[in-house]
């Protein structure tokens, strides 16, 4: 990363992590249950947003710092892979195989579809 990007990436990384924490708490309070709705929603919406930013840069006329700073900093820290695997593993350990399959399959299908929609939108804009 170019050195001037370091501070914005750190700040947006902090913002992404706090946004994830608060949104996960909000979703968990409104829709309690064993299915990890918070992380699911966060990963799908974050994929859509990073797709949009990447589409703007790769296929559109967006400046490269859009993905280098906003994408890497915010989207990267907002979405999470480790919590996703931990929660999926816990569903498997608790023998909630249907919920685990729904979490893994649903996150992948909607995450990839969201990213593709974002890429197309970014290219179109």
């Amino acid at each position: 990363m170019p050195f001037p990007y370091l501070i914005p990436v750190l700040v947006l990384g902090a913002g992404g992590a706090v946004s994830r924490y608060l949104l996960d708490a909000f979703i968990g309070s409104r829709y309690p249950g064993i299915f990890p709705r918070g992380t699911f929603f966060i990963n799908v919406t974050g994929s859509l947003l990073l797709g949009l930013l990447t589409g703007l840069v790769v296929f559109g006329h967006g400046p490269a710092w859009t993905t280098d700073i906003l994408g890497t900093g915010f989207c990267g820290a907002y979405t999470t892979f480790s919590t996703f695997t931990f929660e999926s593993l816990r569903l498997i350990e608790d023998r909630d195989y249907g919920q685990a399959a729904l979490n893994i399959g649903g996150s992948l299908v909607l995450g990839l579809a969201g990213a593709a929609a974002g890429l197309a939108l970014g290219a179109w804009i």
């Binding site: 990436v9 700040v11 608060l22 994929s47 979405t79 999926s88 608790d94």
Partner: protein
């Protein structure tokens, strides 16, 4: 069918304290009411923010030092996600079942650092770009390996952490 938690001492939601009333309950159990604002304490948010900044910075540094080719396999993100999954499994079980430190280490390390270091959105966008560049097989391999090895890495971290002796009286 009755559902029994295999490890009832551990949180289901790794972002929450095991005693947090917001912890998801097994099907059928009634959860006490709580509000999400109760979790928005400034010191907790500061811990999440600090961990998230360091995690994002470390991810940025690794992916810059180890860039992917134009249609190459995203090795950097794969190793970041596997390493972060292992670290979360290991660290979270150590923190909750063994060390039992104060209430700042978990939001700092688990929610902040591991959550900020690993990324799901980059995995999704990289896979879509591989498909777009005519490498659907590579995209499928990337996704399947990420998921299976990610689950295995997290399980390995959890298993190693459980080898450590517990605190007396716990």
């Amino acid at each position: 069918m009755t559902r029994r938690r295999q490890h009832p001492g551990e949180p289901f939601d790794p972002d929450l304290d095991p005693a947090d009333p917001a912890q998801p309950h097994p099907a059928g159990a009634s959860a006490p009411p709580w509000s999400w604002q109760q979790r928005a304490r400034p010191d907790t948010l500061a811990a999440v923010a600090s961990g998230g900044a360091v995690g994002a910075g470390a991810r940025d540094w690794i992916s810059t030092a180890w860039p992917d080719g134009p249609a190459g396999f995203p090795w950097a993100t794969l190793w970041i996600n596997l390493g972060g999954g292992f670290a979360l499994g290991l660290g979270l079980v150590l923190i909750i079942e063994r060390l039992r430190p104060g209430r700042h280490l978990r939001p700092l390390f688990a929610t902040g650092f591991c959550g900020g270091f690993t990324t799901f959105s980059t995995l999704a966008v990289q896979s879509d770009l591989l498909i777009h560049r005519g490498r659907p097989g590579l995209a499928l391999t990337y996704v399947v390996v990420s998921i299976l090895a990610g689950l295995a890495a997290t399980a390995m971290g959890v298993a190693i952490a459980r080898q450590f002796p517990g605190r007396p009286g716990s």
